[in-house]
Symmetry: C2
Subunit: 497 residues, 2 copies
């Protein structure tokens, strides 16, 4: 195809980027992330630094990316500031050493923040595409993220045209960008299957600074096989939801599901698939993992709306081999639509996310370790949890071979408050916190979710606190964490009266 814009090498593309530029990268997770321009920018950054010149960028993404993006740029010390969500070890280290300024955002809030101007000017949109036309029509690949907004607001656009993806992905994407207040109308999604936007991004071709031809697989890893703990968590979630249908608190036709990312999420989806009390369902979520593909094939999942297809390499190959089957069963949306509070509440999602730790009163930490170090970020968990019809958090009851209880008196970073967290599930059971006071919640958490080795410890915490609305004492609140930090084991905690 003859383009009115140049075909560039990755190095030529990287040479266009200047110190202090802000870049919006397309994609969401490693799916659809750029793979060759960021490493070339990293090389350029190192050369600039070696020559004694500053070279640091502002980086906005959809969510996490692949190692060739966050990893390469962080390793080159090329990221001045970064938002939202990340999961790269090198970038995480840079953030936790205070070298990269990271601020976390609910993923549904990223596109509005970009448009509002509070993040400053976006100089570049760098996007992966499966197809580009001379008229400036861009078909994305395995994810959307914020690509449509970045393409519209950025001064200039660079495209990685990746031949590894099939050329006929047209129709998998549904791109809708609402007007900003005061001219916003309803987002017209009334069912997960509703299509409301365009199949491609359309830009003025004069804004496209160049196209880099690539042929690279997504850098999505696989997941560990489910183990006994994750299987029991999955079975507990499925059993709880099947009973909610039985007692009439959920409709017999069920409601659409959102599920987080990782091994527990995979196990939960698997358990929902095999529980006969759960009817065929739809997903309205931000990430599709391998387990959903199984259910789409078996028919237990009838349709999946997502922001990304984050599949292991083998699963993605299978997806591409059956493109026509999936074309009527999968849609990929921008994150302000996949995670929209308006849509989440309207559809009445059942949301299932993973906690790092939960306190006795139902507050959840999903982002930080010991109050200090960022793990990944809040991602979409808050968008979904706050507006869910039923919000569920899962976690194993212990970590580090039992030295850490994931259920604690006070979470060291609070991302989801007691007001939004309805149900907590560990391998030991289900604590349904809805309609319960803090005291009732604490008793239920200990009975249903806490590991048996920690039940007496946590009862003793409440005992040392005496009566009250929240049986919390500030001088003991982080006692278990401090016992771990100072003595290597939360079981060594001593409560002070």
């Amino acid at each position: 195809m003859k383009y009115p814009f140049p075909t560039l090498t990755a190095d030529e593309a990287a040479a266009l980027i200047n110190d202090k530029d802000t870049i919006g990268f397309g994609g969401f997770t490693a799916a659809g992330a750029c793979k060759v321009i960021p490493p070339a920018i990293a090389v350029r950054a190192k050369a600039e630094h070696a020559a004694g010149r500053p070279f640091k960028l502002g980086v906005i993404t959809g969510a996490s990316t692949g190692k060739s993006l966050d990893g390469a740029l962080a390793e080159a010390e090329a990221i001045a500031w970064r938002t939202p969500y990340q999961s790269d070890p090198t970038l995480r280290k840079s953030i936790n050493e205070g070298k990269t300024q990271f601020f976390d955002l609910h993923l549904s809030a990223v596109q509005p923040a970009v448009r509002s101007g509070v993040l400053g000017k976006v100089n570049w949109a760098i996007l992966e595409a499966s197809h580009v036309t001379a008229q400036g029509e861009i078909v994305l690949t395995t994810a959307v993220g914020c690509a449509n907004t970045f393409a519209r607001v950025a001064d200039k656009i660079l495209i990685e045209l990746n031949a590894h993806h099939p050329g006929d992905l047209m129709g998998f994407h549904d791109l809708f960008e609402p007007a900003d207040p005061p001219r916003r109308r309803a987002i017209p999604v009334y069912a997960p299957t509703d299509r409301i936007g365009a199949s491609f991004i359309k830009v003025n071709p004069a804004k496209i600074a160049g196209v880099v031809l690539t042929n690279c697989p997504d850098e999505s890893g696989g997941f560990d096989a489910p183990d006994e703990v994750t299987n029991r968590i999955g079975a507990n979630v499925a059993g709880f939801l099947a009973n909610e249908i039985k007692v009439g608190r959920l409709p017999e036709s069920f409601l659409p599901l959102q599920s987080g990312v990782g091994n527990i999420a995979n196990a939960v989806i698997g358990a929902l698939g095999s529980n006969p009390g759960i009817p065929p369902f739809m997903m309205y979520t931000e990430v599709l993992q391998d387990s959903v593909i199984n259910l789409l094939q078996s028919g237990k999942c009838a349709f999946a709306s997502s922001c990304s297809l984050t599949l292991s390499p083998d699963r993605l190959k299978e997806f591409y081999a059956n493109l026509e089957y999936f074309r009527s069963r999968v849609v990929l949306r921008p994150q302000e639509i996949s995670n929209s509070p308006e849509i989440v509440r309207r559809l009445g999602l059942i949301t299932i996310n993973t906690a790092i730790e939960v306190d006795l009163f139902g507050n959840v930490n999903s982002t930080h370790v010991m109050g200090r170090d960022l793990m990944n970020g809040i991602g979409g968990s808050g968008d979904f949890t706050r507006n869910a019809h039923v919000s569920i958090y899962t976690c194993p009851s212990v970590a580090k071979g039992g030295k850490i209880s994931t259920i604690v008196p006070f979470v060291t970073h609070l991302d989801h408050s007691e007001h939004s967290v309805q149900v907590v599930v560990t391998e030991h059971g289900v604590a349904d916190l809805r309609g319960k006071s803090p005291g009732e919640r604490a008793a239920l958490m200990i009975e249903k979710c806490v590991h048996p080795e920690y039940r007496d410890t946590l009862r003793a915490y409440l005992g040392a606190s005496g009566k009250g609305h929240v049986q919390q004492t500030l001088h003991n609140a982080f006692g278990m964490h401090l016992a771990f930090l100072e003595q290597g084991d939360m079981r060594k905690v001593k409560w002070r009266e």
Copy 2:
């Protein structure tokens, strides 16, 4: 008027209520709350208790109520459990002594929770009305709250028909109840002025167990006059917003405002009214206080959508004397509409709420004192903050004559996380936290918002924490609170390395 249902005395109405019944009370704040049936129930509860019989109720309200409702029932020890929000000293004490089980809900979530069945059966709706017809048409008074949902789902209805309100309040209420998922459509409010529902509640008259005739004013108190601190906070908020318009981050036509309750809120609204950089605006809020009435009269506020008219007695008298003027300028909605996340985000509200304390990283406590005792509850603050176009928290920088700094290292209860809290304002200045990392936020909070007497203390906290993503150390996190609890003054804190 001849009714097909009996006219009862308050005692006769109270005699219909049984131990363990769940009652949904109409109203929102003291506005529109019931005033004669609850005291009669309290008398009945005391008599039952004196006779050695149990008598405790489940009580669901719109928000807080008047002293004749929460105060009387709490004093009679007649409330087994209670949700959401309250502000009565006797009830608060009962909750904080663990005698009443209280659980807090975002106010937009109360009606959906009632419908979903997780709160159990609602036996009674007890509502204040300004007009009732034999056909079961009920015109409410100064608030809506959850009245429309309670009336629909409850087995039976009792009405206080209050002659103190004018008989022609028809047209001030706009009652819309969305279908539940999976059959929910958009909530069709696209501007604060949009009317989408009915002016009265319609029930089967056979459900009305009786009407009690009353003539009582609302029990809304007045507010303290603004003082120097609240005036400076108000001026800081107005100055910040005027500048946002000037630099183009807010449209010149401005956006609708939500404002919390209390003296600071009154001062902020006053300051917005007198700042020439702020154009005439609309309110989309849950409580209308006196200061908004002034602005509706002057024209600076063109229209106000609310859930209640919480006016001082004199102001309400004036409102009633000018009913025709206000009829086209005020609408009262159910709280799931006034506080709807869908509408808040669509309209792009500027939200202004008050914090009990804020931490250096932008997390807000708006509900609890020292991690333990409930103050009032989360109310609508979370509904508005999370989905705001610009979310602002205000508080004086110190309390208790300087012995407490409202800005602390770690909030003792977290209701609004760093992800939603955008701007913090004290009498000393404005910290615009948008797009800033935790480290950058902490520096800005100290520079702009912290009281001068506490700046070095908080800088020393960060210093003792060393570098990191969140400069937080668990063993010092509550040091200032413990210094207050143990030594009566946060200034006596000693940081441990």
